[in-house]
Subunit: 328 residues, 2 copies
Amino acid sequence: MVRAKVWILKKHFEGFPTHSNFELQEVELPALKNGEVLLESVFFSVDPYMRIYSKLYMKEGEAMIGSQVAKVLESKNAAYPVGAFAVSNSGWKSHFISDGKGLLLMFPSWPEKLPRSLALGTIGMPGLTAYFGLFEICRMKPGETVLINAAAGAVGTAAGQIAKIHGCKVVGCAGSDEKVAYLKSIGFDEAFNYKTVSLKEALQKASPDGYDCYFDNVGGEFSSVVLEQMKTFGRIAVCGAISLYNDVVPQKGPYVQTHMILKQLCMEGFVFSRWENRREEGLKQLLKWVEEGKIKCHEHITEGFFNMPAAFMGMLKGENIGKAIVKA
Amino acid sequence: MVRAKVWILKKHFEGFPTHSNFELQEVELPALKNGEVLLESVFFSVDPYMRIYSKLYMKEGEAMIGSQVAKVLESKNAAYPVGAFAVSNSGWKSHFISDGKGLLLMFPSWPEKLPRSLALGTIGMPGLTAYFGLFEICRMKPGETVLINAAAGAVGTAAGQIAKIHGCKVVGCAGSDEKVAYLKSIGFDEAFNYKTVSLKEALQKASPDGYDCYFDNVGGEFSSVVLEQMKTFGRIAVCGAISLYNDVVPQKGPYVQTHMILKQLCMEGFVFSRWENRREEGLKQLLKWVEEGKIKCHEHITEGFFNMPAAFMGMLKGENIGKAIVKA
């Protein structure tokens, strides 16, 4: 018998999350049926989407949503042998039973030298988000200028490096000088701390001609300023809106339509799962770039399943550089 | 010697235009040089874009921008014989001299029974705007539901009928019961007066499943309500933002990003001139549909060049059904 630890959403978030929103429970897992596997979570992902999806798709008392890298402990399913690693979307659970549905085996050829946690970051959802957002939504072309905000985050660091590989000029914004230094170290052409500058002036200085592509992880007021700096026929990939997720009263800002018309801008919201049928293509390309050293990966690792809520809140506060991971 | 009457933008608009923004002047036109033609304006167009473009592209003291159907009175250019009709973008001028640049001869086969003013409406810029906006920006597909606001205007009436021809369900909003009755008479499946209903409830009632395409002529608060009623992967063609053009202090509203992401919406601003190389294709198709009776054209005609400002302001107030035209 295995007792699983599970982080429950005790109470829906109201404003910025606090420890009182979560509760740690223990659940006894039943014996395996045929076709099932028992897994132990090894690495967890904490991501901004959890803040907004919880409100839309979860009930209080349910396990927090989220994905993990997990190891098969017991198996009654030949497709998932004991010792295999898989990526799963099973929530904040130390152990769980799966019938294999939605369980994605990690590449058997996963390189020894790469931590498996990257399957939750650059070689996982955040990397795919950057990849499809830039190629399919921004439709970036070599020589164009790409703006990325929350650039030091999991998606932003991947996006900036992918845009560089593709021959774009890349401008990144982040919220601390340490992050800005990191962005420059991984090849961003320009980077600045939006908290210590006039955003408008910094954007103009970093690219006086404006921006062809804007990979938006922030939304809100930040995006209103960027809109004025877009070039005609600019493309905006709306990936996240972290500046809005914790609103109790929705913020307001200037309407977008006049700028959209005058510059003939295209703004599109997207979720990486739209390209589910190209997941393998994306992951293989990302893995290749990482192995070739063309994409550098930084992880912000919090130790201990017990610290999941703290890691989640820290990520929302922007404490991480690169991917925020919890090591079980 | 011809003396041309010219409406000047005396003072930039500040809020809603008034008569004091305009001044009528007379200008003596010089003798024609080789390659030039003298034209007399026959029909003028008044359009919402003039309100916003004036601020961006005009100086005080210049002739108001705008297009006309004009007749060649004298010619030293064989391409434009005396008596020919052309569409020009020469501003609010009773007469003007052209070297032929930007002068578009009307189809020699223009049907006798159709007023030439349609070249400023359904078989002109507004019709092309509707055509390219629906096919290229909304990428409408037969069976989809298309929402159009300011639907009784020049662009809206064309858009609704084109969407019907393409096999869509069409919902239109307008600002009077008379306009709503007109929309129903030309085939809109659903139409309502947004001034006398709850917009949200009316949109839900007209299409409980939501909207695939939104052809937006209004922007602002209206669009914020529509955003919530879009289907996943909905497309928004931002053609105009008449609710915002007269702002002295920019209005504010909820940010769009969260909806854009969760429903993976695509919003794109556009101007018909993007498809300049397909103008003839578009005009021929529109003319064909009009001749076949598949598109009905309504014009709101103001008599007299002297009344240009009044016609312009009336159009901005929504006094017209169909295309607002001034007959010189």
